[in-house]
């Protein structure tokens, strides 16, 4: 009898222990489950704080404000261009969307994905596939197809001037110079045989943009790997550059920025960046003026903020995340037409 009682006591004791363990396990699990609903945000000891980078600056008071936006019903909008009359052209997928007075006027369907577009003063449209450029008239009809730029070519930008068309090709790391008939004249490779640096264009990620000099003196080309903007004469000679790498608002941050650039009629520049997604305004000497759009204006992680300048000093920013052409304007006072 004694033996049995001992066994009973022991069993109850041990199994009670197991039971307690079990209850503890279940309670832990339930707490776990409850906490997924109510707990505060987890601390990640390995956090890379992008937000701290985005807010490094006591930026100069924004003189720019957003004055409007045009919705762009396109797959993967990539580039935009404005002609002299204010008509907006946006490419995305195989299409070019034509917007007049904020309304969709036309869609031009092409055979291949369109990488970038530009319009010259006469309203001629230049669109680039990955390896070649096509010329369209204002009705969207194909007028000319230019030569293939080769296996490696990846065209990212076109700038169509009065006499010359510059085509930025990140695959070949060159800017090709064409005349208006599509004749390939020469290539700018960025290598400066007389200069102190001979590196050429360094393009670690697929963004490579350029903009025509507003005074008709050659072209400004972004050298993203060097985080600066370089000026080239029509002969392909580098005559100057501005911009530097750094963590401050006035500097370009990242391995390869800016991604896009446009020179405004007054000679100042507007640049867009990835990583810290922001659009900034620089003077014609490359001095930082202020934000056009600070990082808070964009979804985090957005890349490909293509730019173009409109009438009255407006800047159009392509926001691929919102699928909008967002319009920014300088000066707090309203314009008087």
């Amino acid at each position: 009898m004694n033996h049995r009682t001992k066994n009973l006591m022991l069993s109850i004791g041990l199994l009670g222990g197991v039971g307690c363990l079990m209850v503890w396990g279940v309670l832990t699990m339930l707490r776990d489950v409850r906490e997924t609903v109510t707990k505060p945000a987890e601390q990640n000891p390995y956090q890379y704080d992008m937000d701290a980078l985005r807010k490094t600056d006591e930026a100069p008071q924004a003189a720019w404000r957003e004055v409007g936006a045009i919705p762009l019903p396109l797959d993967h909008p990539k580039d935009l261009a404005l002609d002299a009359s204010g008509t907006l052209y946006v490419c995305g997928g195989n299409e070019i969307l034509v917007v007049k007075n904020g309304e969709e006027a036309k869609r031009i369907e092409l055979d291949e994905p369109v990488r970038c577009i530009d319009v010259d003063k006469d309203g001629k449209l230049y669109a680039a596939f990955s390896r070649r450029v096509v010329q369209l008239n204002q009705q969207g009809e194909l007028e000319a197809e230019w030569g293939d730029l080769g296996e490696l070519a990846e065209i990212t930008a076109i700038a169509a001037g009065p006499a010359l068309v510059y085509v930025a090709d990140y695959g070949n790391r060159r800017v090709w110079k064409f005349d208006k008939t599509g004749q390939l004249l020469e290539a700018i490779d960025g290598v400066n045989p007389n200069g102190e640096e001979q590196g050429g264009f360094i393009i670690p990620s697929p963004y490579f943009d350029l903009t025509l000099d507003v005074n008709g003196d050659g072209v400004w080309i972004v050298n993203p790997g060097r985080l600066r903007v370089e000026h080239y004469t029509p002969d392909g000679e580098r005559t100057g550059h501005w911009g530097k790498s750094g963590w401050e608002a006035e500097e370009f941050c990242g391995c390869c920025n800016p991604t896009h650039i446009v020179q405004l009629p007054d000679g100042s520049f507007v640049t867009s960046e990835k990583g810290i997604e922001r659009v900034k305004h620089y003077s014609k000497d490359g001095a930082f003026i202020g934000y056009v759009a600070p990082p808070e204006s964009f979804d985090s992680g957005v890349t490909g903020l293509a730019l173009d300048a409109g009438a009255q000093g407006r800047v159009y920013i392509l926001d691929p995340s919102w699928k909008q052409a967002r319009i920014f304007e300088e000066g707090l006072a309203p314009y008087i037409d």
Partner: protein, 198 residues
């Protein structure tokens, strides 16, 4: 027991019937699942395009250090001079002193190729799979750094303990003959190396 076999009884008959029933049930269960059964086992993998680099791959794996490692896809690496996955944010010069390095385990190696290009290699023996380098590489660069479950380390738990905690649900079971989800690779063309394993 031997009684049952000598003189068939009601209970014996019932048992026999139940036995046949159980056999059929097991066979049926097998048949129901064998129809769609696979020759290959499943393995766990995370989709780098869904991953948000929460750091739990480093802390939640039953292995220590984790079977999740950062991999470098040289195909899409920009060979940047200033690699944001390598250097701490806010540095003033590209000095490779330990205080300037981002990786908490010192697992990234920087090798000079030619001006201004550098090769970056991951030492998987040191990498803890925290993903700290992944986020800036994706934001500023091309995203050539990303996390993957390394199948020479993963012990392939029936229920992956990281998968359970993954906040963005990036973990999934993938067929063992296509065990990697590499950014920048066609999944059919991932170069696999077989190895001796458990």
């Amino acid at each position: 027991m031997s009684d049952d076999s000598r003189q068939p009884s009601r209970r014996g008959f019932l048992r026999g019937a139940l036995g046949v029933g159980a056999t059929l049930a097991l066979g049926g269960l097998g048949a129901a699942t064998v129809g769609q059964a696979r020759r290959r086992e499943w393995v766990w993998q995370l989709d780098p395009d869904i991953c948000i680099q929460c750091g739990q791959c480093a802390t939640e794996c039953v292995l220590n250090p984790s079977a999740v490692k950062c991999v470098q896809n040289y195909e899409i690496c920009g060979y940047c001079d200033l690699c944001f996955g390598y250097f701490q944010p806010g540095i003033t010069d590209l000095n490779t002193g330990a205080e300037n390095l981002l990786c908490p385990a010192g697992a990234i190696e920087r090798v000079f190729v030619e001006e201004p290009y550098y090769e970056y290699n991951i030492d998987e023996e040191l990498c803890i799979g925290c993903g700290k380098c992944v986020k800036p590489c994706l934001a500023f660069g091309n995203g050539s750094f990303f996390l993957q479950v390394r199948h020479d380390r993963c012990i392939n738990c029936n229920q992956c303990s990281i998968a359970r905690k993954c906040p963005s649900n990036a973990y999934k079971r993938v067929p063992a003959d296509k065990p990697y989800l590499l950014r920048g690779y066609d999944p059919d063309k991932v170069p696999l190396k077989t190895r001796r394993v458990r």
